[in-house]
């Protein structure tokens, strides 16, 4: 038994209240430590709130900010994932998730995919990150950190697992919507996320730790429902929807080995094949090479040519 005790901090950050949120993080780190936690995970933008708009620039911090160092100092004997607005030296603003361990900031993930459609407007205010790296942790496992929308793109969990992550961590501020009675747990957003996270856990034979915030900002309700999924794709723990809380979950990391030997999907991945075909597709999509898989008369972006009968001759 290789026990990992995870504490899911399903909190409702105060929008724009950095100091207040920092205090809350400190208090929950203490509480989690007292409960024997090894890893404490806070949601996306837990230190700032989500719908920041022009507040983003006012609340952004540099990675050498003393407040972040102070928070890191509270992680002696602990690992924590916290999230905030990071300002780079050239003044780009990123949605960042940082791994703090044993008093130090050891890794920063900048959100890669910024949804700017529907109710989202992130790209207007933030720059996308360019790096995706699994990170070795003091916990004795590789961690793969992503922020919310990052996990709505297939390559992200796969790359993290191939890079050495055994525990995938997604921190989110997911707005709940679609209350159709036919949805699992009565919420469309929850059904989608639950499906995705179980699939990623199973396909990467990794643990998935999903921490989503709760609370209200403007019109939006964040739905919580944080989860830990085992490498077999089954939920180990599901936090309630909408309830604020610090939820402790205990997992056996030996499950990763068992799963990966029983179902060696990760062993059988073909990244060299992917990179070869992706290289071809990228060149074709850029118009630098003819589309090798398309019908002769197909338009760019679509392999299939229109039926001959639909062609109008002048």
């Amino acid at each position: 038994m290789q026990t990992l005790r995870i504490a899911l901090a399903q909190i409702a950050p105060r929008l724009g209240g950095f100091d207040e949120n920092l205090e809350r993080h400190r208090a929950l780190l203490d509480e989690a430590r007292a409960g024997g936690a090894d890893l404490v995970v806070f949601p996306e933008l837990g230190l700032t709130g989500y719908l920041l708009q022009d507040l983003a620039g006012e609340l952004a911090i540099r990675l050498d900010d003393l407040r972040l160092a102070d928070l890191a100092a509270e992680t002696e004997g602990l690992s924590a994932v916290v999230s905030f607005v990071e300002e780079s030296a050239d003044h780009r603003l990123f949605i960042a998730a940082a791994l703090l361990e044993d008093g130090r900031l050891v890794h920063v993930h900048r959100k890669l995919f910024l949804p700017t459609y529907g109710l989202f407007d992130e790209r207007r205010f933030f720059a996308p990150g360019d790096l995706l790296r699994a990170v070795p942790s003091r916990l004795g496992v590789g961690l793969g950190i992503g922020v919310c929308e990052d996990f709505w793109h297939l390559p992200v969990p796969q790359l993290l697992a191939l890079d050495g992550a055994q525990v995938l961590v997604n921190v989110s501020s997911s707005p709940g919507r679609d209350l159709a009675a036919t949805n699992e747990v009565g919420l469309g957003t929850a059904s989608s996320w639950r499906g995705l996270m179980r699939t990623y856990a199973q396909l990467t034979t990794s643990f998935v730790v999903f921490v989503n915030r709760v609370g209200i900002e403007e019109s939006i309700s964040f739905w919580g429902g944080s989860e830990v999924i085992g490498p077999d794709g089954a939920a180990v723990f599901s936090a309630p929807l909408y309830d604020e809380g610090l939820y402790p979950v205990e997992v056996d990391l030996a499950e990763v080995r068992r799963s990966r030997i029983a179902l060696p999907l990760l062993r059988d991945e073909r990244p060299e094949l992917e990179i070869r075909e992706l290289g071809r597709i990228v060149a074709e999509r850029a118009g630098l090479a003819p589309d090798a898989t398309a019908d002769e008369r197909a338009e760019p972006g679509l392999d299939v040519a229109p039926p001959a009968s639909s062609i109008v001759r002048p």
Binding site: R14, L15, G16, G17, L51, L52, Q53, D54, L55, G176, L179, A180, A181, T182, N183, V185, G186, L187, V214, G215, I216, E217, E218, S219, S221, L241, Y242
Partner: protein, 295 residues
């Protein structure tokens, strides 16, 4: 659960437990962010405001809710009875403020001219109805000061989409907990929350004149209209696709026009862009942020 019968199109059925939870958090969140603990609801006797009163009472406790009844002299007495029943069942505070003197003071009554002069006697029922709605708004915002509570909106999604609202009248509010629920969903929620059966069962009316009903005016029923709007707006179907799906072409045309024609009612009025930074355009802040709370 209630036994009252109402038509709920299958695709519109929502999980009312989740909706109550979300709306409860929404009401508490809106008040907390604004630094208020209490709320004011204008209670007409209809289902929308009754549901909102129930939701507010559940979210913050009936003792923090003030319901204001604001009948005009031609308002249906049954509406007042129904509104009083809601107040009785919830056990919340209430006030009765007749707006007759305010409306008649402008348009005139019984042969006597009002502030508007002789022209007032010629005013159409629509003008009178809109004016009455704005007088109710003025009363609610005044009572919100004395009660130290925010005005809670009671407009539903159907009437907002087709523009069946009075600008700066019944649509005016600090926040609206039911503005994303179609009328059929309002009925489903009302039934789940135990709103009196008589209120759920009666024909919806703006009560602009005696005997008026929404459905007679629009020419089709709320479940029909709700379904049509749901597929048009939420499910992004084109008018042609709706007709192919079996919706009557006349209804599709009417609803599509009403939807487009009411766009202006759902948005903040545009400000002429002149300066470097303009509210709502390139000066974008949350409505409530640190420093905005009343102390």
């Amino acid at each position: 659960m209630t036994s009252v019968a109402f038509e709920l199109p299958t695709e519109l059925a929502i999980d009312t437990d989740v909706a109550r939870r979300v709306i409860g958090e929404f009401i508490r969140g809106q008040l907390r962010q604004a630094g208020f603990e209490r709320a004011v609801v204008g209670l007409s006797g209809g289902i929308d405001s009754a549901l909102v009163a129930y939701l507010v009472a559940e979210a913050i406790g009936a003792e923090r809710l003030l319901c204001v009844l604001m009948p005009y002299r031609t308002s249906s007495p049954a509406s007042r009875t129904d509104a009083e029943e809601v107040v009785r069942r919830l056990g919340c505070a209430s006030e009765l403020i007749e707006i007759t003197a305010m409306v008649d003071g402008y348009f005139g009554a019984d042969g006597a001219a009002g502030a508007l002069g002789p022209e007032g006697a010629e005013a159409s029922p629509l003008r009178r109805g809109n004016f009455a709605a704005r007088m109710r708004m003025a009363v609610l915002y005044d009572r919100s000061v004395t009660w130290r509570g925010l005005v809670v909106g009671t407009g539903n999604k159907t009437e907002s989409l087709i523009g069946y609202t009075t600008l700066f009248g019944d649509s005016a509010c600090a926040f609206n907990p039911i503005g994303d629920l179609y009328k059929s969903q309002v009925r489903q929620m009302a039934a789940a929350m135990g709103v009196p059966d008589e209120i759920i069962a009666k024909a919806p009316s703006a009560d602009l004149w005696p005997g008026q009903t929404d459905e007679a005016e629009a020419g089709f029923s709320y479940p029909e209209l709700d379904r049509l709007l749901f597929w048009l707006v939420d499910k992004r179907r084109s008018p042609e696709e709706l007709v192919a799906k079996g919706f009557p072409a006349g209804q599709v045309t009417w609803a599509t026009r009403a939807l487009a024609g009411a766009e202006f009612k759902r948005q903040v009025p545009p400000i002429a862009k002149l300066g470097p930074r303009t509210a709502g355009i390139d000066y974008l802040y949350p409505r409530r942020r640190p420093g905005s709370t009343r102390t």
